[in-house]
């Protein structure tokens, strides 16, 4: 059951100075790499820095490189390693180190802000949104993203080319553009911006991002390639895009599933006298 494992953990700080530190540590049945890092903290290295939250693969905080593979520490079971094997943990390579296994991922927050937000039709009030399940499913796949940034870390367009960080949003945020473009009610045209502002052209479809995604999102096939195709379509024939939007709308109307249709119908009334977009004065 339990055994003594050999670990090497990168220790260092923001200056960039650091080295792998060897540890020997107990491993019990069913444990994951993050359990072992916690045991190191509690018993051998109280100040070992690691970022984590949920320990259940839902928050995307504990990203690191384990034996050189970008992984979530909480979802990497010790049973995947040979008992004799030395397990090496290093911080994400693409982002600056803060301390030990923790990196500065603010690059991603900057990129998130560069993408214009969801823009709903102005004539649609809260409660009147109608979308069909089949239409929401495509963007929903991308909203499974837990923002672990493993794809951002892995994509060679920035991993090996620091200079591209300025112009390239990275797979996570190109997927966000694609998600908004596929949102049944988003009215903004995002195709030119994908290419011109967010650097979609830097992606050359090597699918490294898809390979490391812990949520198994098909980033390249379902988000980036379709986006590239639509960019090409728009460039050659803008009517193609418009035609698709119109078709989609008709399709929805046939199912009584558009916002416009719902305007005739007062919609679900839960009996509350309070308006949907305001809670009015709050002082009793």
């Amino acid at each position: 059951m339990g055994y003594r494992a050999k670990f090497e953990v990168w220790r260092g700080d923001a200056s960039g100075e650091g080295a792998l530190q060897p540890f020997e540590v107990d491993v019990n049945e069913g444990e994951v790499v993050l359990d072992i890092v916690h045991r190191l903290q509690a018993t051998q290295a109280g100040d070992l820095a690691v970022r984590w939250n949920c320990k259940a693969g839902k928050c995307g905080s504990c990203s690191a490189e384990i034996n050189g593979r970008p992984r979530l520490m909480c979802m990497t079971r010790m049973s995947t390693f040979d008992e004799q094997e030395t397990v090496t943990i290093t911080p994400l390579r693409t982002f600056p180190v803060i301390r030990d296994l923790v990196t500065d991922v603010d690059f991603n927050y900057v990129k998130a802000r560069e993408i214009p937000s969801f823009a709903p039709p102005e004539d649609l009030a809260p409660g009147e949104y109608r979308m069909s399940q089949v239409d929401v499913e495509r963007p929903q796949e991308f909203r499974k993203c837990i923002e672990c940034y493993l794809c951002q870390n892995t994509c060679h367009a920035v991993r090996d080319h620091e200079e591209n960080k300025e112009e390239f949003a990275g797979p996570r945020y190109l997927m966000r553009v694609s998600e908004l473009d596929m949102h049944p009610l988003d009215v903004r045209d995002r195709k030119d911006a994908a290419q011109d502002d967010h650097g979609l052209g830097y992606c050359n479809i090597t699918k490294c991002c898809t390979e490391v995604c812990p949520e198994h999102i098909k980033i390249t096939d379902n988000a980036l390639i379709p986006m590239k195709e639509r960019v090409v379509d728009t460039k050659y024939d803008p009517l193609v895009w418009l035609g698709r939007k119109i078709f989609k709308r008709e399709d929805l109307e046939a199912k009584h599933a558009t916002g416009r249709r719902s305007l005739d119908d007062a919609g679900p009334d839960n009996g509350s006298p309070l308006p949907a977009d305001s809670i009015g004065p709050v002082g009793g």
């Binding site: 923001a14 109280g46 949920c54 320990k55 259940a56 802000r113 709903p120 679900p268 009996g271 709050v282």
Partner: protein
């Protein structure tokens, strides 16, 4: 050894509103305050977008009536009060039931993509204690959708600010990986807050007349918990130290279904949606044991046979719901009892079986995260075999006492919303009512803070002495060298709460717990840390321990005092619910003692329900909860 000598600098910032916590309640509060024209800072222990809200799986309860048109706020209100065994603050439950649909619809305007009904409306699913399918959901990752949607709304507000001011962060700024250690007051009023940046250890002082606490819960005081490291009761403790009161701290929800194997994942949540979507609980003898555990107060609402329970999934109007969907406290106690009486699974839980009841395709579509979680962490294929599950500490019903309409505490300028606030859920929270609580009262807290500022005369000031004292307190662990280990003390605290103030409680055990907590109180100040201020988890834990200890004392004291069993408080020595205790609330405050501030416990009366709300219930049901003299004035008395 990193340098921690010398007096570190403190950087100062000024804002209108500080929101502490970046989960659902905090983000919704920040959005509301910003949209009402205030400059807002969000202070979050984790990275922006990682809050514990992402762990919520099942959905957001809101009576939109999309799945069953008979649903409305009155039904939701009744379900919520029943779930809380009528100890809920009725006004909070009323506002919650009325406003939840608007708060959900609003998320769609921010870009949320919920699962849909065939008509294209938001799909709603069944959950424990809810009479109708009521939970808006996205598969079983609804919390992630909620947090991402609110995060993206914040970004969109920052984009608007950028267009106007040239700075994304001019009016709404997120300070992530930031821990607040102290609140400042000027006289009675809030004046600001102090804390450190976790990555660098840099100290910041915020000058702000309004603070919204949205820090979540206390689960990290217990060993087996579904909660993440952030849940150290910071907001509860900050509120106490600032002079506010906590109520209902004895009520801690143990979610009936946490993972029990392998040991390292013990406690991780298994969503109630498994049962809402048809999963059943079985003991080692293969028996669906929940039919034996329907309490008298719920007898009329639950099926008495497996056939009736199974028919309910397709015909809810003509059948009663299966007892697997009783409120969480009932199910958790039942599982505990089955295991205790020797009918548990090998790892000490019971079986949760959806494999034999629903198709593989259905399970993978409705419960993708659960499929993934069991596959990756336990090598269990939930479409082929049952899960092993058992109770796990999940939620604290108790929290900061607030005014329902404004989320204001008794301290002027201090507001609280979400799990850190108390009252809304009474003695037990229904599944799905948490995400809606975050939105409804997060919004109200943001609005309450903005209105408070509009009426404020003169700006409260932070004194240099207060800043120096807060700084000295944070520096203490560096001055003490190595006598006690923060990790060891944390484990002792968790073991104490788990073993002695857990799901089933007894007076002698809780007295023992209080004794051990008192010992920890002496030892925690002697915790030393190695290393410097930059991203030092040992130091972070040393600071958080103070808060975990304080809330643990509140829980143990209140639990010892309440001599009845109700909701998330079960006494082995007082197994019955007592209607006289329904009128009593227990509150905790901090008073000066010989060795510094001490937690003090007091009784306060529960406010009586407004007559029109009282009349929403049948007299026969109220009789199960109320004393005879409280029942006068019901419509039945007036011949209605």
């Amino acid at each position: 050894m990193a340098d921690t000598s010398g007096t570190p600098d403190v950087v100062h910032h000024t804002y209108d509103v500080l929101v502490i916590g970046a989960g659902g309640a905090g983000l919704r509060a920040a959005i509301e305050a910003r949209m009402r024209g205030k400059r807002v800072a969000i202070l979050s222990k984790s990275l922006f977008g990682k809050a514990h809200t992402v762990m919520a799986e099942g959905g957001i309860a809101a009576s939109m009536g999309n799945a069953n048109p008979r649903d409305n706020w009155e039904v939701h209100y009744r379900d919520t009060m029943r779930g809380g065994k009528f100890l809920n603050n009725w006004r909070m439950a009323e506002l919650h039931a009325k406003e939840a649909p608007q708060r959900v619809w609003e998320l769609e305007t921010y870009g949320a993509l919920f699962d849909r009904t065939p008509e294209g409306k938001i799909s709603q699913r069944n959950f424990g204690g809810h009479q109708f399918p009521r939970l808006a959901h996205v598969g079983d990752r609804t919390g992630l959708e909620l947090i991402r949607t609110l995060q993206q709304k914040i970004v969109s507000l920052q984009q608007e600010d950028h267009a106007r001011t040239g700075d994304h962060e001019s009016d709404l700024k997120v300070f992530h990986e930031f821990t607040v250690t102290e609140l400042f007051k000027d006289g009675d009023r809030i004046a600001g807050a102090f804390g450190y940046r976790r990555p660098t250890g840099e100290y910041l002082c915020f000058h702000a007349p309004a603070v919204v606490l949205a820090t979540g819960g206390i689960g990290k005081s217990f060993k087996v918990t579904s909660n993440s490291w952030e849940y150290t009761g910071d907001g509860h403790a900050l509120a106490l130290r600032a002079g506010a009161r906590l109520i209902n701290m004895e009520f801690v929800q143990f979610h009936p279904t946490g993972m029990v194997w392998p040991p390292s994942v013990k406690g991780i949540l298994v969503t109630e949606s498994v049962r809402g979507d048809g999963g059943v609980l079985k003991n080692s003898e293969g028996e669906r044991f929940m039919f034996r555990y329907v309490p008298d107060v719920f007898r009329e609402q639950y099926a008495t046979s497996e056939d009736e329970g199974d028919r309910w999934y397709t015909d809810a109007d003509n059948n009663r719901r299966p007892p697997e969907l009783l409120p969480r406290d009932e199910v958790a106690r039942a599982i505990n009892n089955e295991v205790k009486e020797g009918r548990g699974s090998p790892a000490g839980g019971v079986y949760l079986d959806i494999a034999s009841r629903r198709s593989t395709e259905f399970i993978r579509k409705r419960l993708p995260s659960m499929y993934h979680q069991f596959k990756e962490l336990a090598d269990v294929d939930i479409t082929a075999e049952p899960m092993e599950v058992g109770p796990t500490c999940h939620y604290v019903m108790g929290g900061v006492e607030v005014d329902p309409d404004t989320a204001a505490t008794v301290v002027p300028g201090l507001f609280a919303a979400g799990e850190v606030a108390g009252g809304m859920h009474g003695s037990n929270r229904l599944g799905g009512n948490s995400l809606s609580d975050l939105l409804v009262f997060g919004c109200r807290a943001g609005a309450g803070a903005a209105e408070y500022l509009d009426g404020l005369t003169g700006a409260p000031a932070v004194t240099d002495a207060a800043v120096d004292a807060a700084l000295a307190e944070s520096e203490k662990p560096f001055a003490v060298r190595g006598e006690e280990n923060a990790y060891t003390l944390h484990q002792e605290l968790q073991q104490t709460m788990n073993d002695l103030v857990g799901i089933i409680r007894r007076a002698d055990e809780m007295e023992m717990a209080l004794k051990r907590l008192a010992e920890l109180r002496d030892r925690i100040p002697r915790v030393g840390v190695s290393g410097g201020r930059a991203y030092n988890p040992g130091w972070h834990l040393a600071m958080d321990l103070r808060n975990m200890l304080m809330v643990s004392q509140c829980i143990a004291m209140a639990a010892l005092e309440r001599q009845e069993s109700r909701g998330g408080h079960t006494r082995d020595d007082y197994p019955a619910m007592d209607e006289n205790w329904r009128r009593e609330l227990l509150n905790c405050s901090l008073v000066d003692g010989p060795d510094g501030p001490q937690v003090e416990l007091n009784h306060q009366p529960q406010p009586a329900m407004r007559p029109d709300l009282f009349d929403l219930f049948e007299l026969d049901e109220l009789k199960k909860y109320y004393t005879g003299d409280e029942l006068g004035g019901h419509r039945a008395d007036r011949g209605m």
